[in-house]
Symmetry: C2
Subunit: 388 residues, 2 copies
């Protein structure tokens, strides 16, 4: 069954080695005051901060700064940004960093002029944005979340201990995003691999739903194959520009809504990983990898056609004479072998989990309808034990 959909993604992507040259021209479309949002010291060490500041000055901008945005951006940090926006009448929020920094920038955009409690209104109740917003743009330095070309924003409320995600509509997407693959060279191999599996997980969580052989499934297979091939190339040479470029662009396309069109989508693996992350603070992509293998083995009998197709079309496993069950098993085995080959972690113990955490993670996981089967907490616990 093919569902009706609306697709609208107005973000402008400037991609490549010289992409920062587009910044000045883009800045001319906005008023005088720019809020620069970034993380800790990374962009100061690698020189990106100095380059960006020079362009902002050259474009005649007044720059206000919000630094120290953390991996899971907090409501308090976001509120700090909101105060800066109001106090300085900010015209553009420019995020420089990875998904967390961009998520925080979107949060500031919708919350700065919200008269109510924005966390309650926009994240917990998913209400429509009714107040004035501030345009957001980004310069991406880490790969994985796709936040540079979508409306996603995950914010953690420290007092209530709630980490809530929200997908805002297209007018909250970054107006423009600058993607220079060379900026990702300084990320560690471990973080690079985590980002690659995050991309693959986004793709698989959209792919393993329904049996419909629609164009979206073909596109997902293409991006999975590109991710696999380019991961291998980047492991051989971390400064292989083409490999790093494809890895970066795959991550953007994997979550810019195109690969979810007309799909019900799963996202149960992400729900389990969120809770794993709350207990271990492990790298997001590594957590996803560990959970994915037993999860897909568990649900594959309920979507056997699609898992057999996964083996043939993603992993190029010869179908001749094999049953769908055999093919499905070989496909997931190929995914596991790929993880091992690359050094992607597939054990919760290696990610810092202890055995007593498992029941707590299982009980606190938010249960969705699932791509092929709705799990129980007991089944989630089984899955966690299998990848412990």
């Amino acid at each position: 069954m093919l569902f009706d959909f609306t697709y609208h993604n107005p973000t402008t992507i400037h991609f490549g080695k010289e992409s920062l040259n587009h910044l000045k021209g883009e800045l001319l479309n906005y008023g005088e005051t720019v809020l620069l949002v970034y993380g800790k010291t990374a962009i100061k060490k690698n020189g990106i901060y100095d380059n960006v500041i020079a362009i902002l000055k050259d474009a005649g901008k007044k720059v206000v700064e919000l630094s120290g945005v953390m991996p899971n951006p907090t409501y308090r940090k976001m509120q700090e940004g909101c105060e800066l926006v109001r106090a300085n009448d900010v015209d553009l929020i420019l995020a420089v960093g990875g998904g967390s920094v961009i998520d925080c920038a979107k949060g500031i955009s919708v919350s700065a002029y919200c008269d109510e409690d924005p966390f309650k209104k926009y994240w917990l109740e998913s209400q429509a944005v009714s107040n004035k917003t501030v345009p957001v743009a980004s310069i991406l330095t880490m790969v994985g979340t796709g936040s540079e070309m979508n409306g996603g924003s995950v914010i953690t409320h420290e007092e209530t201990k709630i980490k809530a995600g929200r997908v805002f509509p297209a007018d909250v997407y970054p107006k423009f995003s600058i993607l220079n693959p060379e900026y990702t060279y300084t990320v560690s191999q471990y973080q690079m691999l985590s980002g690659i599996f995050d991309t693959m997980s986004h793709l698989m969580e959209q792919y393993f739903t329904g049996d419909d052989a629609n164009t979206t499934d073909y596109l997902i297979e293409a991006l999975l194959r590109s991710s696999i091939d380019n991961a291998r190339a980047a492991l051989k040479d971390p400064e292989d520009y083409e490999a790093r470029s494809n890895i970066m662009w795959n991550a953007t396309l994997a979550l810019n809504t195109m690969t979810g069109l007309s799909k019900t989508q799963d996202w149960q693996v992400h729900m389990i990983e969120h809770q794993l992350g709350a207990y271990t603070d492990c790298a997001h992509g590594m957590g996803l990898a560990a959970i994915s293998l037993p999860y897909y083995r568990h649900v594959s009998p309920h979507g056997i056609d699609k898992f057999a197709r996964f083996a043939v079309d993603v992993w190029q496993i010869a179908a001749d004479g094999k049953s769908k069950e055999e093919l499905a098993k070989e496909g997931i085995d190929a995914l596991e072998a790929f993880c091992k080959e690359c050094g992607i972690v597939t054990s919760l113990k290696a990610l810092g989990a202890t055995e007593d955490m498992l029941p707590k993670i299982a009980e606190s996981t938010f249960i969705l309808d699932g791509g092929y089967k709705k799990l129980t907490s007991e089944e989630i616990l089984e899955i966690l034990k299998e990848c412990f």
Copy 2:
């Protein structure tokens, strides 16, 4: 080599059986007067005209009409639309039809308020648009050109006998396009196949350039495979909704600029077909099919790696033990067998060409750099003879 690129496609796509329900909401974003642009009688026969008029009235719009837009829209017809825009102070141009109607609407948009000769300025000299433009939107009823989500506009100047294409920037793209696959059911099987091969040709002309294994190539392979599989399904049952949906969405994605990112692109086959079309008025996609087979056989030795990959990744031909040359040949043979299986015409004679036309077509063809080899007029004549 991966080139820097900018990607920006702001068109909103409403896709599916109920997509026309979005029209009223979209219309509220524009002023009172709508210029409705359409072809001959088709949309009156199938009821789309009445449905659209009812929604326009319901939204309180004043409707001005430009009808009779022909398959190759003329400069004169476009000027007729420009006069209507100026005389009625039109706020939105709504194209209902296929690529020609949408191309004409974009032409009117940029030309109505142009003080100079718009054909010279915008089509022949590709100057930047410096005057006021009128927003364009579309309701698509035929598949193939991708005009519903790009800036392309091909206009034929009757007096000078010049057919010129131009790709306008994103602010000339349709603001929204409504794609209901059921609207394409009434198109003949011959026209459906022509549209499918048009899509495949767009994809191949972007694919067969360079040897770079980048993400764009993986995406093109995915769309080619979806086109092939869904063509077969639609031939079995022309009202197979999923098949017709995928055929429609593939056509849009094949030319919405995403599948050309970081590719030099070829387009020589289209150049030859333009001249074939000038002499025979054959269905565009059929002309492309006839020319493609000898063209790709001719250039494949110069891009052998890519043609071998085409055989394996698009046609799933087993690579075992075969040379690249053998694989490349098998891939193009598979394309030919697919055409024959579906009833896609691969002979110029069957398309109405006569032998004496061939030298004239060859001589008048505009020669591009080509994906792998720049042809001479003599080579083009050879190619035409091979598919005669």
